[in-house]
Each structure stands twice: as C-alpha cells, then as structure tokens.
Symmetry: C2
Subunit: 318 residues, 2 copies
DNA sequence: CCGTTGTGTGAGTATTTGCCCAACAGACAA
DNA sequence: TTGTCTGTTGGGCAAATACTCACACAACGG
C-alpha cells in the first residue's frame, strides 16, 4: 500500500509543481518555497512532469502557411483530411510535430460517443504519436492492429503500438498474434485461417479510421533495419521498383502493389477501404516523400499528416 | 490588403517561433538563427505567442487530491459536476486555474454535434475563462446572455462577456440590450416586454448549460465596484442579510432570494432550471466561499468549478 | 517642416533555469 | 558490521531567458 501511494504522490507532486510552473506562472524558486522543498527539487519535479508527458503544450494559432498547404494538399489530391505542421529547419527528426498532430487527430476521433473501430499500423512515427496521446477512457471503441506483432526472433515487435494505445485509451484491443511476414504464402494462409485471427481481419475491414506509417525502402528501410526482411529481399524489392511499404506491404512509385516477393507472404490485414474509412498516413521527411506521393497516387490513403517541407515537395510535383 | 497580411504574418511568425520553442524544443538562439532574426526578437516572438494565448499548456495528470475533493463535493452536495483545480498558495488571484478549467469545460460542451443553448453570466472569472477559450467553430450552438449588457453610464458593461465568447466560437449570440438593474420595477417589466428581449428571455429558459459567476456582497462587492448599485443599496442589501449575487440578483446565506430592494429591479433572466440544465458556477476564494455554499444550499446551481482551498472550506462546513 | 507618437531593434544586465557533481540515506548482501 | 548499490538532495556554475533602456524609423498631425 505504501509503495503505490508513494508513486502516485510523487507524480501528483510533479503535476502540482508543473501546474504551479506552467499554469500559475511561478518561478521554480517560488514553487520551492511554497512546497517547502529546495529549488533543485522543484526543478526536478517540473522536469519530471514534462518528461512523464503530464504537460502538454499546444499552439492553437492556425499558421497561415500550414493551413494553406493543407488546403492545397486536400484540393490537389482529393484527400478527406490533411494536416501540415511547421518544419523545424535544423532538425532531422522524422516524427517531430507529426506525432503531436497525429495524437491530436486521434483524440478527435476518440472523443466520439458513437463506437468506432480504429485501425492502427506500425512504425516509429505512430509509436511517437501514441506516446503523445493523453489517456482518455473510451471503452466504447475498438482498436485493431493491421499488422502482426511478432518479430522474426519471436519477441513482440517493438514498433507495434497496439498495446500502447489500448492501454492509454482503455479500449478493447485486437492485436494480431502473427509474424509481420510469414515464411511462405502457405503459412500466411494457414495463419489467417486461424480462429483467433479471422475476427481480427474482419474487424480491420470495418475500421472507421486508420492511422498508418509509411516506410521507405531505401538502404535504411525500417522493414530491413528491424529485421523483418533480409538485405537480399530488400534489394530484390528495390530492383523490381518498390519505393515504400505500408504495414509491411511493398508498393511501386505509382502506389501499385509489388507482385510476388515478400508481398506474397505479408501477413498484415488489407488497408481499410478508402470508400468507407478515413485512412490517414502520418509521415514526413524527404526519404518518405516519394512513398507518400506514390501512396496518394495509388489511392491507398485519403488522409495525410505531414510537415511543411514535405507538403511542399509533394505539391511541387517533385 | 497589405495591412491585414502584415498582422497575420506577425502572429504567424509568433506561432512559428512558439512552435519551434515549445514543440520542437529549440532554444531561442536556435530559433533566431533559423528564422534569421536576433535572439531578442526571437524571445519577443515567443513571449508574444504566449501573451496572445497562442500557447496552451495543459496538465493531464489527475491530481489525486483534486479529484478526491471534486468527488466529495459532488457526493455531499448532490452536484451534477464538480471540478477542483490546485490552489497556488501565494497568489491571491480569484481566477487563476478556474478560468482555464472553465474554458476546458465549455469546450467539452461546445464540442457537441447536437445544437446546444449555452447561457452565460457575467463577471471577472467568466471574462478570464473566455480569454482562455480556444476559438472553435460551432455555428450549431446558441449563446445567450443571462444579464443585461449596459452599464449605468450607458456604455457596454465591461465584464459582460457574451460578445467575446460569441466571437471566439462563431456561434449565434443573443445579448440582452438592457441595463443590469433597471431604475424601477415598472421599467423592468416594460423592458422585458420588448419584442427584442422576449425571445432572449425565452431562449435563456431553454439553456442546456449555463456558466455563472458568483459575486460577493461585501464592501468590495463587484456589483458595487462596477457601479451597478450604489453604496446605500449595497449596505441595505447587507443589512437584510444578502451574502452574494448571481447575475445581479441577491441571495441570503441560505440561497433564498432577497425580497425587495434591488432584486425588484434586476433585469436579468432567471437562472436556468436545475432540472433541465447544468448550471455551473465558477468561483473561488475565501470571499466567495459563503456565497458558493449558500448557492449550493439554495439549489441555485448544480455544477461547480473551484479550487482546492475553496473546496476544502465548503466541505469543512465552515 | 518639425515635433510627437508608436513600433520595432539591439545592447546590456539581472534573473531564472538546466545540469553536473559530491554528499548522503536506505536497501541489501556478504 | 561493512561494503556496495541505488536513488535522492542541494551547491555551484554555465547557459538560457526576461527585462530595461536607448535609439532608429515611419506615420501622423500641426
């Protein structure tokens, strides 16, 4: 009893310090005096509050340029939704900003009273987005993973985020206890036929909204880095013209699925229908730009969360 | 054309600087370098973004103590909703925290798809709350003022906030072009009978939710300070046992309306029904505590947004 | 034309903050 | 008991930030 109490008290104190700092506008010295601790401790509390994600900063000024780019993306590519966040010129992070924006967009969906089915892909961007997500209770919704969650080595795939999100939002979750890429087409069929998998696949087809990452298939392809495909397989995909993958499935520069190769063994669900669902890709960065462009061209997605620079590249026809 | 563009650009830049600072985590030096301005200018941009309210900080840790107090308030006083924010021990602000919380609660209501009627009172706390409100477009809703918006000197009452909120949320607004307190009971009847006033009064009775301030009737009563009642009138109210007012109407320590005196001339609408509407008071501070307690006792409100210290006072029976 | 006023700028400076480090307390095994 | 490990504390200091001031410049009115 004392153990959990201590932990809650600690985060409580951190929240209180954070509140005094950010909302009440106290300096750390004042907080220290008020809470009867040293300034350093106050500083630690505040920074704990920040690092624990208790403190959320949002900017609600619509930066004209970003809005404009978003509107042009929607117009030009016939997207249902588009969101553009500012680019930090110096940073080479591939999630900075889009993660926050994706979390905000998810929250908007989750706020819905009516039960929705939320499809979720995988990848670093989504992982970062989920981390930004504020816990909200929405037991009415269902979250379904669109990819397997087993790494080639048998461990849980690190960038599979279904558990994280389900935990945050207290919704029923439907993971896919499968490898991302099966060892053979036959094995994939076998796996998909399993009694515990079929309902998940069916649910994924009924998703109202899906958030997906886009992975490039360059020499540093995440799919390769994470060990889902071998270098030989990657090279073979590149040779045949694959430029990006979504939930493990490779596509060419026109957004047309690659025939054969690893695609025959990808155990992921299908991307939900763009007719009935909002399929949102969250991706930014020059490495992913060709992939995003291709995904749009192939009508694989109808929503996009990206940054200014990427948006410009996409619009310039690049 | 160039003029508005300049202004938007300025806030845009401020937002961008704020974004780089708070979201991207740059230092002001880095921002200065990236935007090609001096560090001081970068600092100015960031602080502009803050002071313009572009930057919103929220803490989403449920501070156990506050939750507990809120639950006890609801339980003890049979409230539909209660929210308790931390107290800043050193500050004597009467809005710090509750303004933000009230804005958040308003936002929750406004997010509703179904059209709602939002009644709004007056006062410093509400004014501060509206300033915290993020602009959202909700043309489906209606906002109705529960009090007149004319000062005794004929100017628009400063703490009447109906215009501010209508502007922020782009909803249809229904102000009451009336003095807060008429010069005689007869004049009040006459005013209320006007063709442009009657629909507003009817609308106010149909409010789904109302946000009200609670004004104390001590020697520094806001109603007196703002010139709506004279010192003699205030003293008379105090003599007869009035301890607080809501939208100009005075009540005693049991929440029972004062009979006669200024109450005969108060031109405000009735407080919406506690049966059909959520009537939320936003108030904190020791000066207002007796008034809050009385408002609860008299069943004038069924929702409360206050701070820790006030919540404790209320619960201690004080 | 000149003064006034308001706005924006950079320099300088005081305050505030982030972080490293040494000290220290409690847990636990030897 | 002692040593060690882990986690927490506060001092000190460099970096970062907020604020004040003087000045430049454009707009405005006399």
């Amino acid at each position: 009893m004392s153990k959990p109490e201590v932990t809650t008290t600690k985060l409580d104190d951190a929240a209180r310090a954070g509140w005094l700092y950010y909302v009440a506008g106290n300096t750390q010295d004042e907080i220290a005096a008020k809470l009867g601790i040293s300034r350093q401790s106050a500083q630690r509390m505040v920074s704990l509050a920040v690092s624990e994600g208790l403190v959320k900063v949002t900017l609600d000024h619509p930066i004209a340029r970003c809005l404009d780019l978003a509107a042009r993306l929607k117009e030009r590519f016939g997207l249902k939704m588009a969101e553009v966040v500012p680019t930090d010129p110096g940073s080479n992070s591939t999630t900075l900003g889009v993660a926050e924006a994706a979390a905000a967009e998810m929250t908007r969906w989750l706020k819905s009273e009516a039960p929705i089915v939320l499809g979720i892909g995988t990848g670093r961007t989504l992982k970062a987005a989920i981390e930004q997500l504020s816990p909200i209770e929405c037991p009415q919704h269902k979250v379904v993973s669109l990819t397997g969650n087993i790494s080639p080595d048998g461990s849980a795939a690190y960038y599979n985020v279904i558990f994280n999100i389900a935990d945050k939002i207290k919704a029923r979750s439907f993971p896919m206890p499968l490898p991302v890429i099966a060892s053979s087409p036959e094995e994939r069929e076998l796996l998909h036929a399993q009694a515990m998998i079929r309902p998940v696949l069916e649910l994924s087809a009924r998703a109202n909204v899906a958030f997906l990452g886009i992975g490039d298939l360059g020499d540093e392809a995440p799919l390769f880095l994470d060990g889902f495909i071998s270098r030989d397989e990657l090279v073979a995909l590149q040779r045949i013209g694959a430029v990006f993958e979504i939930i493990g499935r490779a596509f060419d520069r026109n957004g047309v699925p690659i025939v054969g190769l690893t695609n025959d063994r990808v155990a992921s669900a299908q991307i939900p229908s763009r007719e009935t669902a909002t399929v949102i890709a969250t991706a930014m960065g020059s490495r992913k730009t060709p992939g995003i462009a291709a995904a749009i061209k192939g009508n694989l997605i109808n929503g996009l969360i990206t940054d200014e620079h990427t948006a410009e590249m996409l619009l310039s026809g690049k």
